[in-house]
């Protein structure tokens, strides 16, 4: 996997590059808007990570616009200290696939990068999803584990569906809140944790293999492997 990182702040760039390299990605870093735009347009990338406020006064959004105008469909993750809802909406409407505000936890960035890379390769028209002996039928919205039907509320079904679509990946609480509830605020109470533990009760109780795991300091992951 080959990633392009356009970020003018050297420390942040080093932090991201080191983390991504550790996870097995190759990263090309550019600290300038013009060079970044050139690289984004003229080479093939699996994912582009863009800072918004670049040193030469350029807005990373102009690079996204140029990339989309050129018909390049590479997923773009926008990183920015511009944290307001309006800026986020601008970023996503401007062609970004995801928007992460600084400062961020590396686990959050990693989870989002993996989700984006997976999304671009995944077929959305699947009717059935499965992980180990857990099966989801998307058309009838039925769930069963080891042949036993499990009753889920509609929202729980969407939560499970999102986790299964991203199986073997860490998904963060924020990602779940954004994807399943479509909200962009941080609730004080650990609402997502409680939702997950209720879901875990329904799908894992009585089974030796726990599918839904908590990844400490990052989020959750559904996995068939122990």
């Amino acid at each position: 996997m080959h990633l392009l990182l356009v970020e003018d702040e050297a420390d942040t760039a080093r932090y991201i590059r080191n983390g991504l390299k550790e996870s097995g990605y190759t990263v090309t870093w550019s600290g300038q808007a013009a060079e970044g735009r050139h690289l984004a347009l003229n080479e093939r990338w699996d994912l582009i990570i863009l800072d918004r406020m670049l040193a030469d006064g350029a807005d990373g959004l102009s690079i996204v616009a140029a990339v989309r105008e050129a018909g390049v469909k590479t997923p773009v993750l926008i990183l920015s200290a511009l944290a307001t809802l309006d800026e986020r909406v601008r970023g996503l409407r401007g062609g970004g696939d995801d928007y992460l505000t600084k400062p961020f936890a590396f686990s959050e960035l990693m989870a989002r990068i993996e989700a984006l890379l997976r999304r671009s390769g995944l077929r959305d028209d699947a009717r059935q999803l499965a992980v180990a002996d857990l099966k989801l039928d998307l058309s009838t919205r039925r769930v069963e584990r080891a042949g036993q039907p499990i009753a889920l509320q509609p929202r729980e079904f969407r939560l499970l569906e999102y986790l299964v679509r991203h199986q073997e990946q860490v998904v963060t609480r924020t990602m779940l809140l954004e994807a399943v509830w479509d909200y962009h605020f941080a609730p004080q109470t650990n609402v997502i944790d409680v939702q997950i533990s209720r879901l875990r009760n329904k799908i894992d109780k009585g089974h030796t293999l726990s599918l839904l795991r908590t990844v400490r300091g990052a989020g959750y992951m559904i996995s068939a492997h122990d």
Partner: protein
């Protein structure tokens, strides 16, 4: 004088003074022509009448008879102090009369003219009509104008003196008026200068009477009160923000410092690092919330508001919180009218409800019953979250809306939840009320009623739905 011409008060007073002078002049002139002028014309008519009568009688009678009539007129005692008669024959010999004529200017024959004549041994000003009779005799009829002239002079003198006095009064009044206004304005300017110099608590001293200046001063004082209150608010907010960031930063710094000075083992070091990251994450959340408050309070949003169904928001957020409520042993019920639609931002409204549910779950105690409702009434859409917990004491109800104010000091929390609710309510033009429902607290947000029919095309979402239909 330059300073005077720059004074509005002086210019206004002077202008009105001059207008008064003008009015006096007009009145005097009208008065003058209505009295002296009419009298003069009456005299002229009388002179002409007498002259006509005499010349008529001269046609039929001899000159001697005419002289006799003149003598008679002079001695009859009527108008004898003002009338003037003179008759001379064709050769210029004086026959009778009460004036001495030195030269009879024949160019002014048959016209009433002003002339100085010698009457009773002294010169006097008179109106005269000279007429040549058919036989060549000269008849002069006139009137001594001495008395009328005196009246005329008196009238002019009065007009001029009166006008001069009026002008003097106008100027004097202007100066006095200006000084009065200057004194009142000086008080305001003095206060303004004091405030500019940093003394925000200064107010304009009020005089006893309730004139325009007092009312203006009251208005300005009220405005200053409001500004001072806002400034205090800003100062207070900055102080609390600084305090609330400084405290955890100090804690983190202390822990890291201790770890670096070798007081921790290697595993302890990792624990300190982890704890520092957690606390920094909490700080980031606080900053995000402050930003959200600032954004909402600024009242400006680039994204246009759209019709949002409160029912949808309630369903979403209640489904987000139901598991949490369950684990806290609380029951969470809701009811929403289909017509409870407000013009707003779905994310922010969701955040309002989430914050209120956070609070209710945290502070209502166990086992709490929490009820969320959205009601659509004739003039408002009301979103309310009620619980049956201990509520908030009346004395704290306004304070809990302040940033970082925490009613329950023992509990965790940023103290920003209700501030966010208040800011978002403000952005939506909704009124926020905390009510004591004994037992419990009910937080009510009243949104102005928006007819769903009134915004079919005013926003992006409905634009796109009509777009699809085409």
């Amino acid at each position: 004088m330059i300073r005077l011409s720059r004074s509005v008060a002086f210019r206004l007073a002077l202008t009105s003074g001059l207008l008064v002078v003008g009015a006096i002049v007009v009145v005097s002139v009208v008065f003058y022509f209505g009295t002296v002028g009419i009298e003069a014309r009456r005299i002229d008519r009388k002179i002409a009448l007498i002259a006509d009568r005499f010349s008529d009688s001269a046609k039929t009678n001899a000159l001697a008879a005419l002289a006799q009539r003149v003598d008679q007129a002079l001695t009859d005692g009527i108008d004898s102090d003002t009338e003037i008669y003179y008759l001379a024959d064709a050769d210029g010999h004086r026959l009778t009369g009460n004036i001495a004529v030195t030269d009879a200017d024949t160019r002014t024959l048959d016209k009433i003219v002003n002339r100085t004549v010698v009457r009773a041994g002294r010169p006097s000003f008179a109106r005269l009509l000279m007429r040549r009779l058919p036989d060549g005799a000269l008849l002069i009829i006139g009137r001594d104008m001495g008395d009328l002239n005196e009246v005329r002079n008196l009238a002019w003198r009065s007009i001029i003196t009166g006008s001069l006095l009026a002008i003097l009064l106008a100027i004097g009044g202007s100066l006095l008026f200006r000084r009065q206004i200057e004194r009142r304005i000086f008080a305001i300017r003095h206060t303004a200068a004091d405030i500019e110099a940093g003394n925000l608590s200064r107010r304009i001293p009020l005089s006893g009477d309730s004139d325009e200046f007092t009312r203006l001063a009251q208005d300005i004082n009220r405005m200053l009160d409001r500004i001072e209150h806002l400034m205090d608010g800003v100062r207070h907010v900055s102080n609390t923000i600084a305090h609330n960031l400084r405290t955890p930063l100090g804690r983190i710094r202390g822990q890291l410092d201790e770890a670096l000075r070798g007081l921790s083992t290697e595993s302890g070091f990792a624990a300190v690092g982890g704890s520092a990251i957690r606390q920094i994450d909490d700080l980031i959340v606080v900053l995000e919330k402050l930003l959200q408050i600032a954004e909402a309070e600024s009242g400006t949003r680039r994204q246009p508001f759209e019709p949002v169904s409160l029912k949808d928001v309630i369903v979403d957020v209640v489904e987000l919180y139901d598991a949490a409520a369950e684990s806290e042993g609380a029951t969470l019920t809701w009811h929403a009218d289909e017509e409870a639609i407000v013009l707003g931002d779905r994310d922010l409204l969701g955040s309002v409800l989430a914050n209120l549910l956070d609070n209710a779950l945290k502070y209502a105690g166990k086992p709490a019953h929490i009820e969320v409702t959205a009601e659509s009434t004739a003039d408002a859409v009301v979103l309310s979250v009620g619980d049956d917990g201990p509520g908030i004491p009346a004395t704290e109800r306004t304070r809990v809306l302040e940033r970082f104010y925490r009613s329950h000091h023992g509990e965790s929390g940023s103290g920003l939840g209700l501030s966010i609710v208040a800011a978002i309510a403000y952005l939506h033009g909704a009124s926020l009320r905390l009510e004591d429902t004994a037992p419990g607290l009910c937080v009510r947000l009243s949104f102005a009623r928006t007819e769903s029919a009134t915004f079919p095309n005013g926003n992006d979402s409905s634009m796109s739905t009509t777009g699809e239909r085409i």
